[in-house]
Symmetry: C2
Subunit: 188 residues, 2 copies
């Protein structure tokens, strides 16, 4: 058992530190529902999770996972692009999670895309409270994801340092494009 | 008070998680003694810290700091280059800390140098136990440090991924060369 966690583990460790009972949070990419369930456990009955996906299969899997833990009442599932999140989510969000790439086990041609992803990150930053975070895990490699990774990283590097702190976690000696975990904190 | 810590804070957070009472650890760059004191507190009376510097002023400052906390008995101060650490430190080390750059408030012409730094990192990796770590904070910018940073990063990127995991923490949207924190874990 190694000491260092992988990018997904790092993202959970960071989110666990900041999200408390009663918080409003967003899972921008429901996928199989793992992060939605993780967030639903953290916010308690007094908090709430808004969870987005454009695929029925993803929302169904997420709903089943929540029901298995009897936590579906803590979550609003939304079938729409995450770039539309400001239509559904009130301001005052503590944390937004993104897993960029395709639905694991799903169709690789249906995946997050640079333009809508960046639009969704912008909307997320608007919705955050001060010292709230956007946590992004970027999966790339194989047949997809390079264009999105480059576009997102370029966008993040150019965020105003007076308003946002952007911390990248990168495993720099690996050979197979390990996912990158990036945490953006809103400073004011 | 922001949520994300700076590189020094990240390095302490990681080291605090892994170093326990009874551990053998190394401060490869004593400097003003802050990290040596930090480590001395963590290892308890049953552990030990080996602390290196080539400057008398650094070792004196470190000794004073330890005495102020009555912890000098937990530390061996060594006036020699950290690239010689294998002459003083037994194998079985849990963690080695490096702050690369010059002594804060000291002479900028006396600073860590790429060749000896990389030699010292290699020696550190040899001395580590499995799942032990080397934690490096790289200060650069202004009049110095770029050459060392590039050389060290290039060395770290080429470490065998089967033997070591190398996690870089980088604040990617800042303008003034914020320090980089890198954690190397020995996997076997």
């Amino acid at each position: 058992m190694s000491f260092l966690k992988n990018s997904l583990g790092i993202s959970h460790e960071i989110v666990e530190k900041i999200v408390k009972e009663g918080d409003i949070v967003v899972d921008a990419t429901a996928g199989n529902g793992h992060d939605t369930l993780f967030l639903a456990k953290l916010v308690g009955d007094s908090g709430h999770v808004y969870s987005f996906d454009i695929q029925d299969a993803a929302l169904e899997a997420t709903y089943s996972r929540l029901c298995a833990h009897n936590l579906q009442h803590r979550v609003t599932l939304i079938k729409d692009g995450h770039q539309e999140m400001d239509k559904y989510v009130p301001r005052g969000v503590k944390a937004v999670m993104f897993n960029l790439g395709y639905l694991p086990g799903g169709d690789h041609s249906i995946c997050t895309k640079p333009d809508t992803t960046i639009e969704a990150i912008k909307k997320s930053l608007e919705l955050l409270i001060t010292n709230g975070i956007v946590m992004i895990v970027i999966y790339y490699g194989g047949d997809s994801g390079f264009e999105e990774k480059d576009a997102v990283m370029s966008f993040l590097k150019n965020l105003d340092y007076k308003k946002y702190s952007v911390l990248m976690h990168d495993f720099i000696n690996q050979i197979n494009c390990p996912p990158i975990a990036v945490c953006i904190e809103k400073l004011r």
